[in-house]
Subunit: 366 residues, 2 copies
């Protein structure tokens, strides 16, 4: 019997109704149980009256504080100990829930997760992994870090690649996903010092199918399954892609203004364009972005997630718990520990990762 998923009902832009709707759909479609965390006085009437739910598979756990999009992550942890996101993580820590799903403030979801659950042993920093659609029928690209870590060193990038590898195995069902670093050209001379160091280490790890660098324009092409970058670049790239889709759509509208033929054409094509954006480019169809590297699983949804997005995130959370995604990542880090090479760059990056193992071991021995 799976544990229920803890759903943060308070952090999203559209209020707590989307969480209730998602929980109802997740139970009806997949039999997933849930604990909705948030203001009981708001949530219970929606659950019981609006959705007419009387069962015991979906329960409400009261939280009387809310972290908004304007709260700083550090403040959220310190000043709001009874927030819905904090209590959702506490439920996971107490083994009452298997994973957290939240459409709230990304920084706060990360900071609170680290505070309550801590990182997986050996992991320097968790990262946000998102799925980017590709052209044609190809499976999407696992893209990380999508924004959790603004400044990263080579050891961070190597760990992101490892986490992305196991995520892609589970999410894309590919045994040896093609792993790449995002760079400013495909030649090995390209990239920053940090990226080149990470490439040296990744090239030596037999566990990974590392294929080198890809460029920005390769993201939607079927070249790599996992693309790794720091969280600053990840944030800027994702938002720029969003902006350029907006530009294309706007430009079409403007151009069409002048021509009867174009007007009729786009009017006819409009339902298709709408479904295109809904099904292929809408992140809600992928069910949110996992925060990889915490000692338990959290899924971050877009702030404007609807019920369908929350439902999909809950399904993804349950899949990943069943497939033991985090155990795979942890196991891979332990087995890597024995692979130190003679290469000085490798050793330097390695020392950054290995040190944490040492500390952890010492803690374990006490």
């Amino acid at each position: 019997m799976d544990r229920p998923v803890a759903v943060d009902a308070m952090g999203g832009d559209l209020g707590c109704e989307v969480a209730v709707e998602g929980a109802i759909q997740a139970f009806n479609e997949f039999g997933i149980h849930s604990i909705i965390v948030g203001d009981e006085a708001q949530i219970k009437p929606i659950l019981q009256n609006k959705f007419n739910y009387k069962g015991s598979e979906i329960v409400v756990h009261h939280a009387d504080e809310v972290i908004t999009m304007h709260d700083s992550p550090a403040q959220a942890v310190r000043k709001k100990p009874r927030s819905s996101i904090r209590l959702a993580y506490e439920l996971v820590k107490e083994k009452k829930a298997s994973a957290v799903v939240s459409p709230g403030n990304t920084g706060a979801v990360m900071a609170t997760g680290l505070y309550v659950l801590g990182a997986l042993p050996g992991i320097l920093r968790p990262a946000i992994a998102t799925l980017l659609p590709k052209v044609g029928d190809a499976l999407p690209t696992v893209f990380l870090d999508a924004g959790a870590n603004v400044e990263c060193d080579a050891a961070h990038l190597v760990q992101f690649a490892l986490m992305g590898n196991y995520y892609a195995q589970v999410a894309l069902k590919k045994e040896r996903p093609r792993i790449a670093l995002l760079s400013n050209g495909s030649e090995s001379s390209k990239g920053t010092d940090t990226i080149r160091s990470a490439a040296v280490v990744l090239g030596q790890l037999k566990e990974l199918n590392f294929i080198g660098y890809v460029e920005g324009r390769d993201l939607p092409r079927d070249i790599a399954d996992v693309v790794v970058c720091d969280g600053f670049v990840g944030n800027v790239v994702l938002k720029a892609m969003e902006g350029s889709v907006e530009l294309v759509v706007d430009s079409m509208r403007n151009y069409v203004g002048d021509s009867v033929r174009g007007k009729v054409g786009l009017w006819l094509a409009k339902p298709l364009l709408k479904s295109l954006f809904r099904d292929k480019l809408d992140p809600s169809s992928y069910g949110g972005a996992p925060l990889l590297g915490l000692s338990d699983l959290a899924i971050i949804c877009h702030g404007s997630s609807n019920g369908r997005a929350i439902k999909n995130a809950m399904r993804v959370a349950q899949d990943f718990v069943r497939e033991k995604l985090l155990e795979r990542i942890e196991q891979s880090l332990v087995s890597l520990e024995e692979g130190v090479s003679e290469d000085p760059i490798h050793d330097g990056v390695w020392a950054r990762m290995g040190m944490r193992f040492e500390k952890k071991k010492r803690r374990d021995n006490v």
Copy 2:
């Protein structure tokens, strides 16, 4: 009488015919004189037989070496002293031409320019400035660095903002262009340490209308006139935007496959979509990207530039020379030198820029 523009005929993907075609069009439409630099045996027959040109406003300057897209920039400078791009810069140095236009290897155009002409006094590093289209009728965004400098410190970013400011004054005819740094959020707490330091200094420069940070999705919106980032981020962002346009177009094609209504609609709208990409999203309509910060002007065109793109780049080069763009940048740097504040971050960044002035002055006094 304007000096002619030196056109590198050998570096582009489409051979030397596009340079000849661009030079012919630039003369016919704008009366611009030019020196086409490259293999005489290839260029003269095209000029005289194919285009039937017999005048003296377009001349050919022989160069018997070619820098390809595969040559490393450093090798290009050292090992090919008679390359077309090198000789084009030499013509500018000898005051026989006013500016260089090249569709060649970007790194080689930059490295050769620095070697032959050097940087503007006070400029730490030249940057590539490109124009990005915006939604609606808004003027484009000046975006730099588009890829010349992979690792940048705060002083570089401040100088890019200054150069972008004068470029926007000339190219967009805006007296006080809105200047922004590209970041992972609009709050001042966002960004890397480098970006935050640059923001402190830019906020103190009265010469600039600095508006703070913009996000990736703001690039095509009418929020800033000049957006500054390092060349790694610039390269990745531009290529990712290109990739996402490709994704949208491909997705439309795929969706349409299933529906008669959609098929008819997109077939009707197709000429409009084509003209959209040609006129609004095609960089050739903007005439290439200036390499700002050399002591004379160079315009880098896309490797696959056609004659129209070369022509537009030549027009832009002539405009910038007439409008004294580089003199404005140089003058602004000299006047800034007196503005040192009490702020330690400002002073640190300043020292990086000021040091160069000191050296330059000492050289001048000798």
